[in-house]
Amino acid sequence: MQSTGALEAKKPKLARSNKPLLMKGTSKKMKRHWQLYLLILLPLAYLIIFKYIPMYGAQIAFRDFSPVKGFTGSEWVGLKNFSDFFNSPNFWVLIKNTLIISLYSLAIGFPAPIILALALNEIRSMRFKKAVQMVTFAPYFISTVVMVSMIILFLSPRLGFVDLIVKLLGMESINFMGIPSYFSSIFVLSNVWQGIGYGAVIYLAALAGVNSELYEAAKVDGASRFQKVINIDIPGIMPAAIILLILNVGQIMNVGFEKIFLMQNPLNTSTSEVISTYVYKIGLLGANFSFSAAVDLFNSVINLILLLTVNYFARRVSDNSLW
């Protein structure tokens, strides 16, 4: 693989020189630029130790891991951990919870920043536009812990302003965080609240790049503002939207551990337990390393397959794809 990469990189020169000379040229170049190779040693070591060794260690999913024997010394058990997972009563619950939360996130969280960007793009007053952008971007920088604390505070039946509104409407106090069926909505809507401004940045950039002649032509043709949005703006952001959609779909089984874990409480686990939180609890808290590594690996493989599939279709139906 290394050698083909090198050949490709040197192709233009290959036309003029023969092979041995090229090899000599490459090693000469490497010698002259030895400092660059020195530079990447440390980052390369990092990649190997913290990314590739764990990847190699993922094989414990097929073993009965014991800390004494290590990644490769533990007994090989084949697909036992996987079949244990598929046959466990938790399997379908986890898959269902994970999919509900992620598809819900995608359905609401993906279009929300697009709508915000399209709306902002209509505004001619730069001050108002800047102000909205500034404010909507801010929640992105709130940490997950603080974000979840805010959710819990606001929704608490004793303290939060949401409760005051509920009472104002003449209803009884509701313990939002304790009701399993509310969990996914709370998760998704708070994500939109936090991420909408950040998500809009990329679309605003795409909109700024739309050829202004298109707008002028539309004006001459008597198009309304709304028609311009539909016929010029939306096609303008399509490439960016498709790329982001591919990336999102490739993460469908990865609903963020950090936020869900913090939002969980004993009352809502029936809908809030997802694969990542399950892996953490079984694996690290329960020290059931091999089994949870298998669950995790299953999850990663599904994600990879989804990413490749969506990318494949995106490339076939449009010109936009990751590669």
Partner: protein
């Protein structure tokens, strides 16, 4: 006739624009209100907070919540730890990122396709939590400060952003000229490239810093000793798990007052924990936007 069409259309457009403004104002209020509510509550009295009197502005203004924070050694240690992890974490991050991104930006660098492939693979696939944990454990750095600095020493996305920046802003001729004048690669990087790359360095520093300040996951799985906890873990214990050690309630004797103070403290804590990021917000926003732009060039 022409005129009437123009008027009709402009009415439709005006109405559409009105809807757009209305929508954005609603969005603005929805995003802004919770933030204002938090800040106003944090400056109110415990009594006003628990009786739900705070709507928009602080009620019975007081600094009781903030005083409670500064009387709590746990929170102060967490704050100091977070500053430590953020400072040294960013130092390591930016150094490592430049060390990898700069060689990768040179078209003459043999093997860069292979290293890019190594990087991209890590973005699409990972070994998972358990092997990651076991690897860190086998290095013997569990429950040490290193566990907060080394496992996240490099972020692939930031390497790609930096590489794209170097490629597009440092002219190739500059490097060739320097080489002819006998300047070494390291000398060129240090004396020419880095001074020209201040914007990207700012992007990297801020992105990594916000990440470190807000992170809690590595601390959750790698740290056991209380005195090493970063602020976010302390926040989790107080805000989410609701466990406050009794020592901080020294000046509150009555149950009711304690409960009020405990609730008030949560609001003040949120403000204090978010303060460093908010203080830098104008820069942070500007450079994050730049980072997203550069990232999307290649993305």
């Amino acid at each position: 006739m022409n005129k009437s069409i123009a008027i009709r259309e402009s009415f439709g457009d005006k109405f559409f624009l009105f809807l757009v403004y209305a929508f954005l104002i609603v969005v603005l209020i929805i995003v802004l209100y919770p933030l204002i509510y938090i800040v106003s509550s944090s400056f109110s009295s415990p009594r006003a907070v628990i009786s739900g009197k705070v709507w928009l502005f602080p009620v019975e203004p007081s600094l009781a919540g903030y005083r409670a924070i500064f009387n709590n050694p746990q929170i102060l240690t967490g704050y100091a730890n977070s500053l430590f992890y953020t400072f040294f974490g960013v130092l390591i991050n930016v150094t490592m990122t430049v060390m990898l991104a700069y060689p990768l930006s040179k078209s003459t660098f043999y093997g860069r396709g292979f290293i890019m492939l190594l990087l991209v693979i890590t973005m699409m696939f990972s070994g998972g939590l358990i092997p990651y944990y076991l690897t860190v454990k086998s290095l013997g750095i569990l429950d040490t400060r290193w566990a907060m600095l080394l496992p996240g020493a490099l972020a692939v996305w930031q390497v790609i952003i930096a590489r794209t920046f170097f490629q597009s802003t440092i002219p190739k001729e500059l490097g060739e000229a320097a080489e002819l004048d006998g300047c070494t690669d390291l000398g060129f990087l240090w004396r020419i490239v880095l001074p020209l790359s201040k914007p990207i360095l700012a992007v990297l520093v801020l992105m990594y810093a916000v990440g470190h300040w807000n992170a809690y996951f590595d601390a959750l799985i790698f740290l056991k000793s209380q005195e090493l906890y970063p602020l976010q873990i302390i926040l989790r214990n107080i805000l989410i798990l609701n466990s406050i050690d009794a020592s901080m309630m020294v000046d509150a004797n009555q149950m009711a007052a304690m409960q009020g103070l405990r609730d008030l403290l949560k609001f003040s804590l949120i403000v204090v924990a978010t303060l460093p990021v908010l203080a830098l917000y104008p820069f942070v926003q500007k450079y994050f936007v730049q980072g997203i732009m550069i990232g999307s060039l290649k993305g």
